[in-house]
Symmetry: D2
Subunit: 354 residues, 4 copies
């Protein structure tokens, strides 16, 4: 029943429940000699942190990472990097009402059925709190990638879609607003929509777009471990994700070949990039870009019918402090998973230089 | 640089180029004592075979699978099942014109860059011919799954989308027409569209929907190896796939939580199924359903500019016998990969009965 | 450069250097619902602990394990079990003399060459302190194995070999003396020899025998993952191990087939057991037994010539508190690794009952 | 129940029973651009082949390997190398007498118990015929290793042990005699002993020593994937192996630290090499050497009591053509597995040059 490890040579294994003593993980396979920028790591955690703005959950958690091994005199040693984030805000009392009740569209029921038991406090292992460990590992992977740049941003909230091509966006503005959208006008619209939804005691879905630049040609393995297949798996492993598309995506399925083919320039680059930077599962040096769809958060502040462990219908209403929309805090998680995927492929291929 | 294996306990490793001596694979981990229906296996290969109808490539290949091991007196023995499909239709002359030329939106360029060499005959390893090996393995996996039923079908071709919920379709009609759409009217429209495109010397994309029924509760591993994440990777590893969504998918990202939540019945089933049969990465016993987007085939019968290995711009035009739309032949491949994913999770969890 | 994980479905990943903040690990794949005996786990740690008797290193470390996740209300939940053991006795000053010097027959030189750097404090990652994490995981695995019993004991120290067949030993006496030998007379001889060696400022090797009883028939996978091959790898991965043999071992290579074959009883058991409980890589229900050879500890309290990082010859002498013989403290480590191997194979085979 | 794959990045998966249509395998991860010497591959197969001399089984099998993929114009392409060896000498009639009988010290009983069925013809999957596939893959791995040289040879047969240090042997003479011992006098004694045993209708065990030279410093991963632990697993996975020791081995367990430590020269090499070329699981640039113990072949030409599947005691006597001693034909298998281990570690570490 394992399954808590991501990667082949740059491997992250995570542990921890939302209301246990701590969450954390082990990064195995990080090359030696990497001088770590600890502020950059913590900064990524801050981007994921609860309570960071008015449009996210108001829980307060410091989310400070503590490194336990694998680093000596500020540099990686090539040995496993163990780390933990202590859970300071456990308030288990908040969750006693869901001990014997299955929240709709949460994993309470499936965990109970699969394991015969579950840590019911705050979602336990199925809580998105686990993703903080991914953000730590992703922040280290990013530092390994050097010139390769990963830019994730909110591109839609509910029915509101930003229709600006990524080439026309200024990625340096992603963090200039609470919703992490690089366009000021759309950012405002997205934030307004989320505030509106929160007032209704409801939640809403959204989409994150990710662009990876300066990827060397040759990353990815053919057949089963195609670069985009691993990116897809990595994104779909994030809580609340319902879909993944890269390059032309679902729109591409509507097109003709004569319109869809990317014609080469003399240097091997292509005039268009409907391929999304990947051909045959291998990076071709063009920008990689993809979209990730997130469902609305399942915990709402409205009354819903549900069942308890004995199958009795009961009424429940979300308590506590929850996100009205997961997307703003999911941006650094998409960044992190993208970095883990790319770092792993960099290590898997001996001909690719680090 | 490995990457030609799918699965953890039910493992498929494939080999073979489109114009080498043979393609094939090894299935490692199939339980002993499974009485194989060889006709059913061959029938799945026929569904993928070139030349099967007027809307697919007119190449003629028998695609007969030869089992070399792991089966004794008609039953699996628990040892690896080696198999091969001899390539009878090699006609390497057809491909000499692409020896030094990179076809647009094919993997010629990336293979050459990654490996410094490539078998240029017919796409070599990047050819979708490799998927015949997946179909063999998937057909065996299906027989292992018994009551679990997998139904893939064409749900859109180009801009034409079938808007009928899967619950209203008769899956027994999927193979009643050449495009593998269970609705007669849409099937006719899809076929007409493909014929039209073929006359233009062009190609077109499409979407396959897959529904998996009777899945036991509890399949899938939390965190990185979520059931839908593995399904996504498996689908994205199929040639020409650009996107994957399950349950509410990208539409779900537009919804509110109050509309999206699936309310429980007393028996643990849900009144709606926007979740797509998976909660927290674990099957909940409801139907699993997802969509897979395929781009238009890159080889078109029209003139295109492209480059050769020295960077010179040259004009090329597709020759030979190619598919105007990949979707009809991809239906059994989606079936096969879904079966491999489910079989692997069945074996990974000791508490799930075979 | 990964490599810090053992197992396929019952997986242990460890982290930590001897003088970092903590060592620890993650156990991924432990089935849910196992009620843990925490005293039994701590007791195994005590068996490995420094300072436990006069014939081991006199360092004082409490070696208290702290569980961070995967356990709820005393039972495993099926989610990863994170744990740590804080390093309380770091005294880094003790090791400053080896910062730029390579100790003979230690891993200082190879780590420096491989990684370009090393945590020189007390051996860093190459310190046997890492094995404390294995003991924790092994103690949990043991509880999973229920009726399967693992008995490791010291069977030789230096040239002194205990020539008593394991069938004539009383395993309940293993912990009745400091050297962990179930025969009182040999135990005394072993202890005397170790004391003698310690007085000389020298160290000495030894052998541990392990007997595993009540193993069900059918554990192990044919070909590469044979049961005894995995046991061998697991044992050879323990610090200071130089050899592994099971059943008749190296003596078996001297024998004739007519003497070596194990003749069956009517019930499938065998009259003799030169096979060591494994046939064709699969357990046959008889006792599994094997021997593990440990070299003498490399740190001696005598002067030796060695080199520094610049290749200058320098004289060095061991300081601090080291083991004169590793065997007494290695007994619980052999137990632990054996338990991990067996537990993993129990999970890998669906037909074997837990 | 998988387990038929060896390696992480240079992966070999094998299939095939001794009396099925064919045996073979897939090598996944071999780098592109390696110009293959096919004669060298076939020559290694000849060294393992039955019928090659008077002291091995007199079965006649051509053992010709047929490559199906992964090679183009004489060079590897980086894609999986599929290969097969057709079984031409199936004579299934020879084995009908063992259909319902369990041969002593063979895997008949354990396979039947584990899988509920077995291909009883000639041992099926448990036959050492499977090792021919390893020899093919090992021969390719050897060509990848270039300057690294692997020398395996027979160092003992039964009680006869060659007491000459490997440094005093001329490895070029290994194949100058039928038993593959580089010393002429011991070779003659070994051959005489095997002939004597064969006349008795009996079999005898033996030991193979392997020396690996010119290994770069830095191969191997710390903790669980130590270089010598992987070598041990690889060797123990060969049929009939009962023990593995490297460097000082079991003798080292008798020694004192002051005698056992390898003192450094100024250049990082060591004056002695009791370590066997590995420190802390990582190669140190000195020769790697180890011994592998093989039990006597279980099939003897003498009458033995055994049982049938119903537990009845029956008398049986080996028929057909079997090896009186497995060692001469196992020499190329040890070579092959050593090459696979080293090649895999070369690929796993990005800092090691190919």
């Amino acid at each position: 029943m394992a399954g808590n490890t991501y990667g082949t040579l740059f491997k992250l294994t995570t542990f921890g429940e939302s209301h246990g003593k701590a969450i954390g993980g082990i990064i195995d396979g990080c090359p030696a000699g990497l001088e770590l920028d600890f502020d950059a790591i913590q900064k990524e955690l801050e981007r994921r942190k609860p309570g960071q703005s008015k449009i996210v959950t108001q829980r307060k958690e410091p989310d400070t990472v503590d490194f336990l091994s694998g680093i000596f005199e500020g540099k990686t040693t090539g040995t496993p990097i163990g780390f933990e984030i202590v859970n300071t805000n456990q308030k288990s009392k908040d969750y006693s009402h869901i001990k014997d009740t299955y929240r709709p569209s949460h994993a309470d029921y499936t965990y109970d059925q699969k394991y015969g038991t579950r840590d019911y406090r705050g979602g336990g292992r199925s809580s998105a709190r686990e993703t903080a460990s991914r953000v730590v590992a992703g922040a280290i992977a990013k530092q390994l990638l050097k010139d390769i740049k990963i830019h994730s941003y909110t591109s839609s909230v509910g029915e509101l879609e930003m229709d600006i091509p990524y080439q026309d966006l200024d990625f340096s503005k992603i963090d200039s607003n609470d919703v992490r959208c690089p366009d000021t006008a759309f950012a405002k619209a997205f934030i307004d929509r989320i505030k509106e939804i929160r007032k209704e005691g409801d939640t809403i879905g959204g989409v994150i777009t990710c662009v990876i630049q300066n990827v060397p040609v040759g990353l990815g393995e053919p057949v089963f471990d195609k670069l985009h297949a691993e990116l897809g798996k990595a994104m779909l492993s994030i809580n609340a994700v319902k879909g993944f598309e890269y390059g032309s995506g679902f729109e591409g399925a509507k097109m003709k070949g004569s319109d869809h083919n990317d014609i080469f320039n003399a240097d091997g680059s292509t005039k268009t990039n409907l391929s999304g930077g990947v051909q045959g599962g291998i990076s071709n040096g063009m920008d990689i870009y993809f979209k990730v769809a997130f469902k609305p958060v399942a915990t709402i502040m409205q009354k819903q019918d549900t069942i308890d462990a004995d199958g009795n219908v009961v009424e429940m209403q979300g308590k506590g402090r929850h996100d009205p929309c997961v997307v703003p805090r999911a941006v650094p998680i998409v960044d992190a998973m993208a970095a883990l995927v790319i770092a792993d492929f960099m290590l898997r291929d001996k001909t690719v230089k680090l």
